[in-house]
Symmetry: D2
Subunit: 485 residues, 4 copies
């Protein structure tokens, strides 16, 4: 064990050297590209509530302020502790849709399966993750938390967590330096020795590898949610540098099945409405790509009366699109007539400048795919085109002849930038994270090696049952309470 | 003619006496009940744009400020003329979806069919009505405008109109006194003799009847959009007190067919998402009423994976619901299991306190019908229930046992309070209003008597063609340009 | 009363003279054009049942045979009384879907509301009408029945009726002379004085006017189901020649609402499958006309994965098609690419020879509209085209270059020729007919004049309730048994 | 090679001993259970065409008749060679929907990729397989063919093949002895040495193993289509007894993806309509199982207005059903109220006698799943229940109290018994079979060992492209002709 650890330490040194590009990644490309960036409009949705506005000391960095919660604690760093009450409302709304976690709290309350767990977490700080964090606390864990994205923190939710006694270090609009400072504050604290890591994007894990490798002696496991973070863990594993067991939450069947098809089916509509108030009925739309995301987008738009075209290069998917009633076309065939272009292929430059030039006036262009580069947005930053920011997340790109194209979220993921991810879907992921922590924390020594694991099948089934507890008729139906747990 | 007018004057005196309840109506019940109140969230949607915030002089009444636009004019009264640029963006976005009006501008530009028209208008002041007003101006009219609702004005749009030279008197949050002062400023101005009225709700018409009946000598007609206003005009007509021809825009076939079914199909989703971020897939929903609005709601929710029940007392509509695949139930049968209750019956107390008591925790309750009283919200204002305002338009009503019900818009119309009406649908109404004004203004004397009229059929057809010009394939299809006009 | 009757008699003489063209109509155009001709394939569907086949005496006219049923009666004329058992099965299957009539039987059994009624009927003789006839008998009526169409009689159903004691005169493949002979045998019989007429197409009524006008003295009313028959009755009424009250069943709201939209939604699929076994998924289809029939066809085809185009000249309907997600086109735009052309406009020559020339190989062409001439089938009967009858109701029309077009039912109504009308829909009409007979027979003298009436509203409501009794959940829902009757 | 063959021979002896139960299988359980049995109603659909009826010599076994085609050949054995013309029509109709094979004929015509191939085939003899056989001939093969099912042969199609010179031995209603005699005649013929096997169900392969193992010396490969046959091949392979390469067509991605979901979506409707003429709108239906077949059934029924319930024991599938808007229930919850019960689980006794006892009068019960035993039909064969055969494939099972349940196809697969499989779907399989034959026949020695293979990926892609050639817009779209082949 000790030998093993020493080997680990040795490797970290190499890792820190080699992986410059990994540590630079968040800086250059922006945190957003690392993982989910939570909707701007979501956080904006309550900013209109007159009663609280960020007061004049907004300009002061939270790091320079001294704040104390009502219990006299100051072991946190948030924008404004006074916003706690508003944040609590947001958390309560989220709880309505996250019955799975609430139910888990109740079921596991007696036995406290996380008693003794000391978790450092680094995720988006939103109402939904707050429900997760408070569930972990209810199950017996101590938590210290930072944000995995410099923009996505809901300040008032962070305040509510701080008020409730969670050591949270996060605010909206952190600098690069702030970002690492917050992470560091979660790990490095007198008398605190974390034994679990919950990460989203791999930055926290990276920081521990780089700065505090000795901590891995006590860590029982890492739970990672993002594509990027999971990819990194597999690389470490392949290189023999993974020091502790890790659980890949991203590829759990529940996340894959529901995040894509069902979530996108709803968020495409929501994202378009919130940004443009467009009417779907009668609109001509081309959806590029007919994978799970494309299928969800097409189904929703068709249902609301849009005329939908599909572009697809995989013959099987193309035939599916046919059989589902969509006309499969080349983008160039329809580029001049469509009212909306939606990309979800996972490829680069699916919509080129040349095609953007041929769009009709008023056409909406947006991206639902994983890549930021499906629409060649960079090509639009040329002198002859005027950009006008007409709303948050909405740019009018204006051609010399006056033609306007409505570009949403600058080509970034529409559903993360301009809609809210339905709480119910986040609930699935959050429950998976909680179960993964419980599993790793309680596993008998030796069950998990220094490798990356998926959630065991019985936990997946339990997960689905927890998540679907929201459907009582399901349980009246085929599942009996007896099966749960 | 003069005799007629005298008769009119005489009648107005009676009218003013009798109709106390009419004039009081806006005061007591609030302006919202009179007619459409534009979405709070719509106006909020750009308030997050950092660059303009209502500055500290917000507290000063616009009536006490002196403002001048860039052309040196001060014949207007808005919140803040400096917001004009932001308002112009909103108008430009709206123009993208209102091709009908833009097309009308182009077609009628040469002949200026409203040359000489002096229009007083009283409508919501939104980006969409701004497009209408600027179209009227482009067709030759002079306009003076006030708001028909004390809350619905988009301040920056009013600023943009003022900056463009329209005499607009409106801001968000007018007092009762402000409301009538604004209307008065539109009518009563040195050297201004209006000859057309465009009204939404009947207040402007009422004020003219009450204060300036002599104006009717010159008025060629009234165009009225709202149910309430139209109802009032028919009463006047029946009583023989209508002094000028009036055009009923509310009952035009285009408005009826599209506002209800197609508009509600989209706004039910939008309204629920913006307020609650709820996931539709798998939810159990009961929709009360299967008229056009109910049909739209049911179709949209079913399409996104909700399990929809319908209550309906008309046997024909009930059978339609059956044939469309919905289980027709009594509300009491499902009240304990549903996740959402949506009313659209047009009746009172469709959802009673007794039924609200039996809802499950987290149930969402909202109204899409014409009446504010479909849900017995009044019955919820009792001491044992706690109300918590968790977001704009969202209240948690909390029972003593901790059960929370999410009440949206306090039982008022969800789609007007919490979503945006798709611009395209507003475009239909706005075009109808413009055409009605053109028709009345240009009609040969004697064609229209002192009565209430619907838009003549050929204008309706022309209207549809203008509106659908947004679908070029439609014109490639069956309509030829030659038919237009 | 007597005076009135004399006037009637006088008018009939004129009528008989004038209306040569009416009496000739069935002869020249064939009975099919008069009214519904029941599906060939329906009657064929059991002809494969090995156990009964029309035996060698098939060639003998039923008029030349002497047949006796098991009770010793011979007051009927059918193809083969021995087929009665097979017909009884068909009737029993139909009864499963016609709960409304069965329910009416039970409800009205005690009071026998048709006791004393002597009904002459002339309708299609099918399993469904058999259920109607036997219901009338159960309610106390005596019936004599003939067929309204020389092809549509289900021989074994006629046999089953004869076996059960109904005086039925009908077989498949009657000659023109047979047709009138059968009708005559229903009216003209020793000791039989009919007092009610149930007609479908107006031929029975015509025959009574022409041959036995004195019968009208005793007739309490006529119930007519077909468009043609109703049209004729209105003409008589307008001309002052209608001698008795008549009930127009064709225009009842239940028939209009359900026959078109819901019935066609199912029968378009059924008709196409039975004739061509075509797969709908991925097919490109153009539907000409977006009225109720077109809406039903489009909805069904879209739902099964076809890509549907619509042609429509009415702007409102065209906009509805748009909003429902269909591309509105000119037929010429898509004529070369579609896999199916379906007409439902009610107009003539919607698909011309020129367009048929441009169809692609294998294209299916059929008609769902009221007119037989929507497709210019006549233009295809030219020497250069070869017709090949490949199945019942399916012709391959072959162009000189080898191209084949699949013409269904020679352009006649697909759903009547090639599918079955769902029994449930027929149930609605049959119940309406029964209720209309009850109403006219029991109405106090003077309630109905010599005019054409629609079913009174309370009967319509009762009708819907009877029809929907098949949906028990509907009654658990909003209707209570107490309301029924 | 010779050694190998000897080993093979040795093994066959064992095989023949061991596999008694395999060879008995077709005898006891009936051929239908082995593989697809083509629709009764399909073959009946043209039996109404007056011009040909099976004449009086129907009773004579084809084996006892001497028939000669118009070219003077008598190397075939069919019911009646005179039906050839009618069969040719059926084949021509099928060709309209099988463009993939037609296209393959054209593309490969020059090179004749099957020149020299001598294929023995054993499949259903239908219009669709006729198109396949004639394609193989066009590509250069010689063919001898028998039927894989004693009931499924379309006699007139067999006649048309015989007339065209194919050595076909098959008729509808073969005895067990006839069945093996026909197979034998295909293999064992003077001067004929087959080198390819195309099998559907494994009987032909079995016969060769048993009677003519030496033939395997020359056989280049076996192409097998059915689940049962493929299963058998894998067993042989595992046991080391497979003597030649085999291609598993059943598990090709195209077949799996399209046969289940898309095919069942259409055939559930078709099967129910043809047997019962039921109206779907408003009906309550329970679908047991939400796999691909269940998804297809549910989607179709929902689209046509049925109210659909789902039973499902897999939590993931259950959650999908939820998200797709279906109420997930236990069968017992809804058994008393539903109008139809459809099984597609793959399990046994999903619907028990106890549940059948509780069904309401008129309920339709049918099976779309792979197993014949999903409905416990055996339990209905008890003295107190009366069975009435009311139509081909439709039994009324009558309870002592008069309740009738409509059992379709005696619980066998509805879509194979009572509907037609869309020709387009069969086209996919047939093309796969043709490509598999070409691949195995032309593969360089050594590429395929004595094992079971799937079609190589490039052939799959080519297959999809051939199949989808029916959608020209697809090719205008993403595929270019250049890619094809």
């Amino acid at each position: 064990m000790i030998l093993n650890l020493l080997l680990c330490l040795l490797q970290q040194i190499q890792f820190a050297e080699e992986k410059q590009e990994f540590s630079r990644f968040p800086i250059k490309a922006g945190r957003r590209s690392l993982s989910r960036s939570i909707s701007q409009s979501s956080t904006d949705s309550y900013s209109s509530a007159a009663s609280y506005t960020d007061s004049s000391d907004d300009e002061t960095s939270p790091r320079d302020k001294t704040q104390i919660n009502s219990k006299g604690t100051s072991d946190f760093c948030v924008k404004n502790i006074k916003q706690a009450e508003f944040g609590r409302h947001e958390i309560e709304i989220a709880e309505q849709e996250m019955s799975a976690l609430i139910s888990l709290r109740k079921r596991a309350l007696g036995e406290k399966p996380l008693a003794g767990a000391k978790i450092v977490g680094c995720t988006h700080i939103t109402a939904q993750t707050a429900v997760l964090i408070e569930t972990l606390v209810a199950l017996g864990a101590q938590c210290r938390w930072s944000a995995c994205n410099i923009y996505s923190t809901q300040n008032e939710v962070a305040a509510a967590l701080a008020e409730a006694g969670v050591a949270v270090f996060a605010w909206k609009g952190e600098s690069e330096d702030d970002f690492w400072w917050c992470i560091d504050r979660c790990i490095n604290m007198q008398g605190w020795q974390p034994n679990m890591i919950l990460d989203d994007g791999g930055d926290l894990t990276h920081w521990v590898y780089k700065k505090y490798p000795s901590i891995f002696k006590k860590i029982r496991g890492i739970v990672e949610e993002s594509v990027t973070g999971v990819h990194r863990l597999y690389q470490l594993s392949k290189a023999g540098k993974l020091c502790v067991p890790a659980m890949n939450v991203n590829d759990s069947v529940t996340k894959q099945k529901f995040d894509n098809l069902y979530c996108c089916r709803e968020s495409i509509l929501d994202g378009l409405k919130r940004t443009t108030d467009v009417m779907f009925g009668g609109k001509q739309v081309v959806v590029c790509g007919y994978g799970e995301v494309g299928k969800g987008c097409c189904a929703a738009l068709k249902a609301l009366g849009a005329i939908v075209y599909v572009t697809e290069i995989d013959p099987i998917c193309a035939l599916q699109a046919c059989m589902d009633g969509f006309r499969v076309v080349k983008l160039n065939e329809v580029i001049r007539v469509v009212d909306m272009v939606i990309t979800c292929t996972g490829n680069k430059n699916v919509v080129t400048r040349d095609q953007l030039d041929r769009l009709k006036n008023g056409c909406i262009v947006c991206n639902m795919g994983h890549s930021n580069t499906e629409i060649d947005v960079a090509s639009l930053r040329t002198p002859e085109l005027t950009w006008e920011r007409v709303r948050s997340q909405v740019d009018h790109v204006i051609w010399p002849d006056g033609k306007r194209v409505l570009l949403l979220a600058e080509g970034r993921l529409l559903n993360l930038s301009c809609s809210t991810v339905p709480t119910f879907v986040l609930s699935i992921t959050a429950t998976t994270q909680a179960l993964a922590l419980i599993e790793l924390y309680n596993a008998p020594e030796g069950r998990y090696k220094q490798d990356v694991y998926l959630l065991p099948k019985k936990m997946v089934t339990y997960n689905v049952k927890l998540v679907t507890i929201i459907y009582p008729f399901l349980y009246l139906g085929n599942f009996t309470g007896a099966n749960l747990g």
